[in-house]
């Protein structure tokens, strides 16, 4: 069915009508490819070849040492591991906190339900600038500043509202028959949630987690303020400080290698899961 429809669609006359559209979108797409492709090529090249414009020839071979240098001497490995730790722990905790809340908000009628939902919705529009100063004062007083636990805590707290918002819609669309059946069998509501509803919400949980992963991996401002020490820096802040030094030392190959290391995890994730990621963007924005 789908195939015949496609065949029916493909006629030169029809495609010609789309020509201006193809041209505009095509140019944009080509530019994106050139941009990223060039960076990847340059990351295997030398500074001299980049400046001579001969990096496509790879006359001196592929320079994997750019990556080795960035990974070890510029401590990208440490930033990378920090980011991995922050992202994995936060993503898991966000779900453990947001999923129960989203379930209760979408399933139970109680006084204050609407208010609580609105509270979480407002958090989506509060700029980071409104929350960092008191938090900074608080954690400095408590001597918690610049620690790994603090930044993980902040990432969890900051991603819970969006996740609740996203999962509420998801739970809302699940049929109540599962809970009714479970109640007849004598399963308590709480047990029903953990045993039945949470597994049923898996597709939504996976989608929102991929989205949270990308957000936290790329987060910059909060970690610049709360995790900006050589030991705790995540990869985005690490890359920034590294670029500043590499530009002065003139190691361009190494700099582009560092850029590739930074975007590779989310890029690979995106190549395999772009449909899910795109679904989470539209799913989250429609009501916003």
């Amino acid at each position: 069915m789908q195939k015949t429809k496609m065949k029916e669609k493909f006629s030169l006359k029809k495609e010609l009508k789309h020509a201006p559209g193809y041209l505009i979108v095509g140019l944009w797409v080509i530019f994106t490819f050139v941009l990223i492709g060039w960076i990847i090529l340059a990351s295997f090249s030398t500074t001299r070849e980049i400046f001579d414009g001969t990096l496509f020839k790879f006359a001196t071979g592929l320079h994997f040492e750019n990556y080795v240098k960035a990974w070890t001497t510029h401590k990208v490995s440490s930033y990378f591991m920090n980011s991995l730790l922050y992202t994995l722990v936060s993503c898991t905790m966000v779900i453990l906190i947001a999923a129960p809340a989203a379930y209760v908000l979408s399933r139970f009628k109680f006084r204050g339900n609407g208010l609580v939902q609105n509270l979480f919705a407002t958090a989506l529009g509060i700029p980071a600038i409104m929350i960092i100063m008191p938090l900074f004062a608080l954690v400095t007083q408590a001597h918690l500043n610049q620690s790994k636990g603090l930044i993980i805590f902040l990432y969890i707290a900051m991603n819970v509202p969006f996740t609740i918002f996203f999962l509420s819609t998801f739970f809302h669309n699940l049929s109540t028959t599962f809970e009714e059946a479970a109640a007849i069998d004598g399963c308590s509501p709480m047990k029903t949630f953990w045993r039945i509803m949470l597994p049923l919400a898996q597709p939504g949980i996976i989608t929102v987690t991929i989205f949270n992963f990308i957000t936290i991996w790329n987060e910059y401002f909060i970690s610049l303020i709360f995790a900006n020490t050589a030991k705790n820096r995540p990869i985005a802040v690490g890359l920034y400080s590294m670029i500043q030094s590499m530009r002065y030392t003139g190691d361009w190959g190494g700099m582009f290698a560092a850029v590739v290391i930074v975007f590779l995890p989310t890029f690979v994730l995106y190549i395999f899961l772009s449909e899910k990621i795109i679904a989470s963007v539209t799913g989250g924005a429609i009501k916003g």
């Binding site: 994106t32 060039w38 109680f110 600038i129 707290a157 949630f193 989310t266 924005a285």
Partner: protein, 304 residues
């Protein structure tokens, strides 16, 4: 019996999220709001050292040339960038929903910059696209014989603002395109078919059906654009890494300087009260845009 059981569950399930919310959103926002009306030097200063000074922080800010530049810049980013991004993304959304081949592939590529760290994207733009020696723009200009233009200093003081804006907008187009597309795809196909039977051409179908039905999505796009541009920070730092410059300064980067005093030159004295006032100004802008756009949509009786 059952309700009490549910009550315990509701409290238990909501408590962690609510506690986090109170601690990380409600308390800080309230305190920042109050702080904006006090004279506070260091961000960690004790409450007892705060001195009430009414609207002085706001007055000081608007009397500081660098902050005025920051507001001008964010205004231009919001307006010029906003119009360009929303129009280009709408155009892309319309093209991609018009039955082109490879729709999901094209959509994925256009959205791609959004999944890459802004620091990485910015580095690519600054050190490759805008590079005066081997950069993409100047190489291309040389290729088409514009040798004079090929010497353009894209990140020089005259052009740096626009270069920064272009690089920023390039990434945002994909995000807003997805939102337009989700709106366009919710319009029932019969509308278009009926119009086609009546002899409407594709431009008429777009202006008479698509556009009016996209009012709600348009509002979402404007609100989301406002929320994201008000936090404009990384790009400003990437394009002026050492000191704040009036070409690229934004309220956020100015606040960072005021409160955390990062850059080496003491361009600004520590003033956390004024930093808080900047936050309040940004929130007010978001709220005003939110309310104004809501009114536009309320007059609209079509709901999809």
């Amino acid at each position: 019996m059952k309700t009490t059981k549910n009550k315990a569950m509701i409290i238990l399930f909501l408590a962690p999220a609510l506690i986090l919310y109170l601690f990380v959103f409600l308390y800080p926002t309230t305190r920042t709001f109050i702080m904006s009306f006090f004279k506070v030097e260091g961000v960690t200063d004790a409450l007892s050292s705060w001195k009430f000074d009414g609207f002085d922080n706001f007055k000081t800010l608007f009397g500081t040339p660098l902050f005025v530049s920051a507001m001008k810049n964010i205004g231009l980013i919001w307006l010029v960038g906003g119009i360009s991004v929303l129009l280009i993304s709408l155009l892309f959304g319309v093209i991609l929903t018009s039955g082109v081949l490879g729709k999901s592939f094209l959509r994925s590529v256009i959205y791609l910059p959004n999944v890459i760290s802004a620091v990485a994207m910015g580095t690519m733009w600054i050190n490759y696209v805008y590079n005066p020696d081997f950069g993409l723009f100047n190489s291309f200009l040389k290729l088409i014989g514009q040798d004079g233009l090929a010497k353009t200093q894209w990140t020089g003081p005259e052009l740096v603002f626009w270069s920064m804006l272009i690089a920023y907008c390039f990434g945002m187009v994909g995000y807003h395109m997805l939102i337009w597309m989700s709106g366009i795809e919710r319009i029932p196909v019969d509308f278009f078919e009926a119009a086609k039977l009546e002899g409407a051409n594709s431009f008429q179908r777009f202006s008479k059906i698509t556009l009016p039905l996209l009012k709600g999505v348009c509002r979402t796009n404007i609100v989301l654009w406002t929320v994201s541009t008000m936090s404009f920070f990384v790009w400003s730092q990437l394009f002026s890494p050492v000191n704040l410059s009036e070409n690229t300064v934004t309220p956020m980067s100015y606040m960072y300087e005021l409160v955390f005093g990062a850059s080496s030159s003491a361009l600004t004295a520590r003033n956390s009260g004024a930093g808080a006032a900047i936050g309040v100004i940004l929130v007010i802008i978001v709220v005003v845009v939110f309310t104004l756009t809501q009114r536009i949509v309320r007059h609209d009786d079509v709901e999809l």
